[in-house]
């Protein structure tokens, strides 16, 4: 699940000489809808944008497993335990697919997965804003599967025709699994929405808490909002098709009728669909807070990074032990 949000400077600088002839040929391929492969010539800013996009996407999947995972051992029935375990496993699997794609792009710089993990832990590699938020109740496990994944599906399907072949192929796999995720989330939500008063109350409370993060999911509408946004380059190189705001509007159109049909409310009295302008009017979330969150200053940023760090450091001896071939296999 992911959306591309630029923040701070890139640590990796690509050195590819500008070659107008190669650039023109590259752009012609992009325009013709051809797929670019890992060892094809590509302009430095294309590679750079892809590395940033895909490594953040991949690491967000890995970090995104953590908030939902909190509810895996606690899930209320055997069926739910199995369902959420399979779902969170998929998220780890998506991380695997995406990091592999990023690793191949970073190869010219001699960077590996190890470096990505280190970048995450030292704060250079950001993860998605929604995964800095707490999951306080079982309803949050449903909310992540339903609306957070819903938003993720919206932004990922938008890149299914991405010009970069390996990314596009990974996304095909991911989006197919997202269909299961969407229904998994809906099923948890449906049981709560049709459940008793306590269940409905934790569901509404969860939605209220998640609402600003869901709006933030797609990133700011334009660079002015947070000072920087790389959405233009993504569209120029046909990595994705739509702008942040277009995606957010599409998400609201798809999901708000379903939210209301369950008798849930949105914590924004001003929200409505403007027939004349043909768009949803909503109260802007606090974009200054958004900026803080993705700089690892969100409510759960430190704890989540700490979990990842312990898992990484505490298992280092295991990875070291893998350096040798096992005997008599």
């Amino acid at each position: 699940m992911y959306n591309y949000v630029e923040d701070g400077d890139s640590k990796t600088t690509a050195y590819v000489e500008h070659d107008q002839e190669k650039y023109d040929a590259f752009m012609a391929r992009i325009e013709a809808g051809e797929k670019i492969e890992a060892d094809d010539w590509m302009p430095a800013d294309y590679r750079q944008a892809l590395i940033k996009l895909i490594s953040m996407h991949g690491i967000s999947e890995i970090m995104g497993a953590l908030p939902e995972k909190e509810w895996v051992p606690k899930a209320p029935t055997l069926r739910r335990k199995l369902g959420i375990m399979a779902k969170v496993q998929d998220e780890m699997g998506h991380g695997q697919l995406l990091l592999r794609v990023a690793e191949d792009l970073m190869k010219p710089f001699g960077k590996t997965r190890e470096n990505l993990m280190e970048d995450l832990l030292n704060g250079d590699l950001k993860f998605h804003n929604v995964f800095h938020m707490p999951t306080k109740t079982w309803a949050d496990a449903g909310m992540v599967g339903w609306l957070v994944d819903g938003a993720a599906i919206m932004s990922q399907t938008n890149m299914l025709d991405a010009s970069y072949g390996p990314y596009q192929r990974a996304l095909q796999r991911i989006c197919q699994e997202e269909v299961f995720h969407a229904q998994h989330g809906e099923s948890i939500i449906m049981a709560l929405a049709e459940g008793n008063e306590y269940q409905r109350s934790i569901l509404q409370e969860s939605l209220n808490r998640w609402w600003p993060a869901l709006l933030m999911f797609f990133g700011p509408a334009s660079a002015e909002t947070t000072g920087s946004s790389k959405q233009d380059i993504m569209i120029k190189y046909k990595i994705r098709k739509s702008t942040n705001e277009e995606l957010r509007q599409a998400f609201l159109s798809k999901y708000l009728p379903r939210v209301f049909s369950l008798g849930l409310t949105i914590p924004d009295e001003t929200i409505h669909y403007d027939e004349k302008e043909e768009k949803w009017i909503y109260k802007q979330p606090d974009w200054a807070e958004f900026k803080q969150i993705i700089r690892n200053k969100g409510p759960k940023s430190k704890e989540r990074l700490r979990l990842r760090e312990i898992a990484y450091e505490n298992n280092r001896w295991v990875r070291q032990a893998l350096a040798q071939e096992p005997v008599n296999v």
């Binding site: 492969e37 699997g93 592999r100 699994e177 070291q320 893998l322």
Partner: protein, 117 residues
């Protein structure tokens, strides 16, 4: 301490869905050796599909086309109809005149069952 990048290798993973299906490339994974790669492969990429066989191949052992080869060696002119049935469509009419059917792909592939005596 050994650098992990020195022993983690990229393995390409292939699988077949059924006995009649061809080997198909699935994806790649990082593993320290081929045994570990094998034990991870199926659950990483084929959790929801049928598998009758799995191969793992170290990526560095594969001779792949490079970028230039993909763009220069994979092009062919569209004048190879003589290799296909395309130019023989007129036979259908000819055989029809002689009150015979056409031995097309559907007909020939159906011959796997012949009448038992």
């Amino acid at each position: 301490m050994v650098k992990e990048s020195d022993f983690y290798q990229v393995y390409e993973v292939f699988s077949r869905r059924g006995n009649k299906a061809p080997m198909q490339h699935q994806f790649s994974l990082l593993a320290p050796n081929k045994e570990m790669a094998m034990v991870m492969a199926q659950e990483n990429f084929m959790r929801r599909e049928d598998v009758v066989d799995v191969w793992v191949v170290k990526q560095s052992d594969i001779r792949k086309m490079n970028s230039e080869e993909r763009q220069s060696l994979t092009n062919r002119l569209d004048n190879k109809q003589y290799r296909t049935t395309k130019g023989y469509g007129y036979l259908r009419q000819k055989w029809k005149e002689k009150e015979q059917g056409m031995l097309d792909e559907k007909e020939i592939m159906s011959w796997k069952e012949v009448k038992k005596k």
